[in-house]
C-alpha cells in the first residue's frame, strides 16, 4: 500500500477521503489483529510523525526509520493503550521518546569517536568563519535550536515548529501543562538570546569582512 504524501499539507493527521472511522475504532480493530485498521492509522499519522522527527534528527531517511520503529512499537503496545484517551498524543509520545533516545545514543557515540565518520552527521555551524558555508535562515535557526538543552528544545519544536498545543505537548511528554508552559517560556527566551547573539556575531563578521575588502 503506497501513500503519496504532500509536503505542503497542513499539520493535521492525514485522514484519508472516505474514511470516517475514528482513531478509537481503528485502535480497537487493530487490537483485534486487524492489520488493515492499523495500516489506516499509520497512513493517517505518518506524515506528521516524520515531520516531527525530522525537526529533531534533520535526516529524512533516519526520520523514516524512526517512524517505522515507532509504528512497530505502537502496534506491540496497543494492549497498553488506554482507550479512554486520545491515540495521537500517545503515539507521538512513543515517537518523540524514541527519537530523543536515538539522539542521546548518537551524541554519546560522537563524543567517544570524535574523528569517526559520525562526526559528519553534525550540522555545520554557520557562526564559524567558513566563507563556503552560505546557509539559509532555516539552517541558521536549526543550528540555534540545537544549542538549546533537550528539555526545552523538545517543547519548543513541538509548539513552535509543529504547532501542537501545550496540553497536547503535556500528553506527549507526560508532564503537567504548567511545566510545559514554563519550559516553553524558558525555551523561547533561550532561543531569543542565542539568536540575538548569533545575529550580532554574524553582523560583526560581515562588517569586518567589508572593512578588509575596502583596504
Amino acid at each position: 500500500m503506497q501513500s503519496q504524501t504532500d509536503i505542503n499539507k497542513p499539520l493535521t493527521a492525514d485522514v484519508r477521503p472516505g474514511s470516517g472511522v475514528g482513531d478509537a475504532r481503528l485502535v480497537e480493530e487493530a487490537r483485534g489483529g486487524d492489520r488493515d485498521a492499523f495500516g489506516e492509522l499509520v497512513l493517517r499519522y505518518e506524515q506528521r510523525l516524520i515531520r516531527v522527527i525530522l525537526q529533531f534528527v534533520h535526516d529524512t531517511e533516519q526520520a523514516r526509520d524512526l517512524a517505522q520503529e515507532t509504528f512497530l512499537r505502537v502496534f506491540q503496545r496497543l494492549d497498553q493503550f488506554d482507550a479512554s484517551r486520545r491515540f495521537g498524543p500517545w503515539m507521538f509520545r512513543i515517537g518523540v521518546n524514541l527519537t530523543l533516545d536515538y539522539l542521546r545514543k548518537r551524541k554519546r557515540r560522537i563524543r567517544w569517536s570524535l574523528f569517526s565518520e559520525h562526526a559528519g552527521d553534525k550540522l555545520p555551524d554557520p557562526a564559524t568563519a567558513d566563507p563556503r558555508a552560505a546557509l539559509d535562515v532555516s539552517q541558521e535557526v536549526r543550528a540555534v535550536i540545537d544549542q538549546i538543552p533537550e528539555n526545552y528544545r523538545s517543547v519548543l519544536v513541538l509548539r513552535d515548529l509543529e504547532g501542537f498545543t501545550t496540553s497536547e505537548i503535556a500528553a506527549i511528554l507526560d508532564r503537567k501543562e504548567a511545566t510545559i508552559r514554563w519550559r516553553l517560556a524558558e525555551a523561547r527566551d533561550r532561543f531569543q538570546a542565542l539568536w540575538t547573539r548569533r545575529m550580532e556575531r554574524t553582523a560583526g563578521s560581515a562588517a569586518n569582512g567589508k572593512m578588509d575588502g575596502d583596504k
Binding site: 517505522q68 512497530l72 513552535d160 531569543q192
Partner: protein, 195 residues
C-alpha cells in the same frame, strides 16, 4: 507584576499562549516598563524567525512507511508463532519432567533424625545400635556412663546396653566418633571411663 514574571509571560504571549486575564496584566506592565517592551520586540522577532517555513526539500516524503512496517510486522508475527509452536512442543514434556521431579522430591524427603540426648529411646536408636553391634560390637558399660549415658536413658529399656561386647573396634575415641556420627548426637558433658 515584576519584570521577571513579565518576561516569562511575554515569551508565552508572543506565541498566543496566555489567556486574556494574563494578557491584560502584561499590557499594564508593558505600558510602564520600556525594558520589557524592548524584550517583547526581540522576542517577537526571534519567534518570527523560528516559525519561518522550513525549506521544502527537507520534507520530500513520497513513500509511505506502511509497506515496510507491514512486512516487519509479518516477520515478527511469524517469529512469535514459531516461538509459541516450539514452546507448545516442549511444554508437555517439560510438565511431565517437572511432575516427576516433584514426586521424587516429596517421596525421598529424609526422615527427621533423633537429636535429643535426654528423650526417650526411639526406634532409630535401636536400629543404630543394632547396626553398631553387628558391625563393631561396641559395648557401652552402663555403670561407667552414669545418668542417661550416651543417648539412651537408663539401662532398663529394651536395649541391653551392657550385653554389647567391646573389643574389636579399636580405641575409645574411634568408637565414640563412630557412635556420634551415626546417631547425629553431640558429645555429652562427661566422658565415659571405660567401654
Amino acid at each position: 507584576m515584576n519584570c521577571t514574571r513579565a518576561r516569562s509571560e511575554i515569551a508565552l504571549w508572543v506565541g498566543g499562549d496566555v489567556d486574556e486575564r494574563e494578557a491584560v496584566q502584561l499590557q499594564r506592565h508593558l505600558a510602564l516598563c520600556p525594558e520589557c517592551r524592548a524584550y517583547r520586540c526581540r522576542m517577537k522577532g526571534s519567534l518570527q524567525m523560528l516559525q519561518e517555513p522550513a525549506s521544502p526539500t527537507a520534507y520530500n516524503l513520497h513513500d509511505s512507511v506502511w509497506p515496510n512496517v507491514e512486512s516487519r510486522l509479518s516477520v515478527q508475527s511469524r517469529v512469535e508463532a514459531d516461538r509459541v509452536e516450539r514452546l507448545n512442543r516442549w511444554l508437555p514434556a517439560a510438565a511431565i519432567a517437572a511432575a516427576c521431579l516433584a514426586v521424587i522430591a516429596i517421596t525421598s524427603e529424609p526422615q527427621p533424625r533423633n537429636q535429643r540426648l535426654d528423650g526417650e529411646p526411639l526406634p532409630s536408636d535401636l536400629v543404630i545400635l543394632q547396626s553398631l553391634q553387628s558391625v563393631d560390637s561396641i559395648s557401652v558399660d552402663e555403670r561407667q556412663a552414669p545418668g542417661n549415658g550416651v543417648g539412651l536413658r537408663g539401662g532398663g529399656s529394651s536395649i541391653k546396653l551392657n550385653t554389647i561386647q567391646a573389643g574389636t573396634m579399636g580405641d575409645e575415641d574411634r568408637r565414640l566418633t563412630l557412635f556420634y556420627s551415626l546417631t547425629g548426637r553431640s558429645a555429652p558433658d562427661r566422658r565415659f571411663g571405660q567401654y
